[in-house]
Symmetry: D2
């Protein structure tokens, strides 16, 4: 199995800059998390964007799709902001022969209390176990693309149909 | 999907008792980890044993198998000590219609630096994505039962065949 | 010894709001940190402001001074943003019979890697050990008010004289 | 100010060895904690023993005293197991011209939830603020040697007199 990690930004990679008292998307947290978890599966990281997912537009989604289509790897894990993760998942549907799993976090990975580390494990367990298709891994659940939305009020993902 | 979490002990649940300056298997870390990760998937926890996995014998494995066979749930996640996790995995092979994933940790979940939280995510992502069978989720990798061993020297799991 | 904790804002209390993808000063981290550290010394918390320290002006400093002067407690620990902590320290000099220690953090207390918890311990150890006066506790060092500045380039505090 | 850090063992430095499923006193946590806290104060570390404090005997205490008496530094911070910390503190009373502060932890510094980091800050704030003498820094409180005991039932330190 060959694995590509694509990073697009989002809360999961938010860091805090004391110099500017600001909070921005930093470098990917994946290498540090994978090292701490002793991941031995081979993987390649491609940092694509550093955006809040509300800033992602159709051009960005086309670019993400193009990278997925052109990648040598058959398995792709994408880190993404939560606000439009479900939209990007739908925009990737239909790429033949690729298993794609999107994940992210509601609290930055650098926080002491965060869902980021668990979610990266969840996505990695799913991406190597699923048949080709596009999925979203959040709240301990693997959702198929097109059947999931973020419930902003409740701060969690849920199915749009009755599974 | 119905999920059962079975706990058998191991490093993942080790806690430290100041009173005795000792280190013992405590209650399961799963509820706290799942809450922090915002897991919305329904699950039931059954604490079965609190043993170091080197202490587990054939009777213990028969008991674990019996619980798996009798469980109403079709998907089972087992937390287990790492030393004999591969042995227990093999002892569970052949239960019809059940997807069983074993995981654990090389460092206790209560540690600041640990693989426990990531591994629980990994196992949860795998257990809901795989067809019936028995698997082991460690080092970011999903191994089929019977084709994995712990490399004690290197402190990690590896395949016994060439996949 | 009677201890007052005054909070004025700053990086130490920064939290992240997923709803708005924003980063704001939240409630004081002191109660959670003191509970985890098993602090048995009696203390009273007075949340005064929630500002980045660059936003603090002369009126704010006059308000902080007034609260210190009027407090029943003889020992006061102030959490404060780092950018103007040295300025506020100087503005509090000369209050008779009070030992005042200011501290804060370069990384939010909610982060996994942070100086906040250590700094609160440092300030608490100092405030109950020093004679009346105004001090700043950062970088593992107790500085007297008026002889310390933040080195923005290096991201640390240093003396302005040769001690 | 010149600072010596003496380490004698105890829960604060407990680590977990997966190889043996055991829990032993490891190397001192002080360098990592001081680096994370950005400590700029100069200090020297002398690892003296790696014992649970119940194992410390009169010979060990004589050795600790000898190192304190002979040290070039006037300020000494000692990390120590909690069970006999109060006993060692008393055994160090009467060394002229030295400010000595003992601290430790009820939960290992490597734990995610621990008093170790706060306590090291507390002790460092105290040792540079106090006049010569011997003190114990635990539970957010600076106790004078000879007037403090560990309450084993409650798992905390308390004064033996009415302060």
């Amino acid at each position: 199995m060959n694995l590509l990690i694509l990073t697009t930004g989002g809360t999961i990679d938010k860091v805090y800059f004391d110099a500017s008292s600001q909070y921005e998307v930093g470098t990917s947290t994946v290498p540090a998390v994978f090292e701490e978890a002793g991941v031995t599966l081979p993987w390649r990281l491609e940092p694509l964007m550093r955006k809040d997912s509300l800033e992602l537009d159709d051009n960005d989604r086309a670019a993400i799709r193009k990278v997925c289509e052109g990648a040598a790897e058959s398995h792709i894990l994408i880190t993404h902001g939560t606000d439009s993760m479900a939209v990007t998942a739908e925009a990737l549907v239909g790429i033949a022969g690729k298993t794609i799993v999107l994940t992210g976090a509601l609290a930055p990975a650098r926080f002491r209390t965060t869902d980021a580390i668990f979610n990266l494990g969840l996505a990695l367990g799913a991406v190597q176990s699923l048949t080709p298709g596009v999925y979203l891994a959040m709240n301990g659940t693997i959702f198929p693309a097109g059947k999931v939305r973020k419930n902003y009020q409740a701060g969690r993902f849920e199915r749009t149909d009755t599974p």
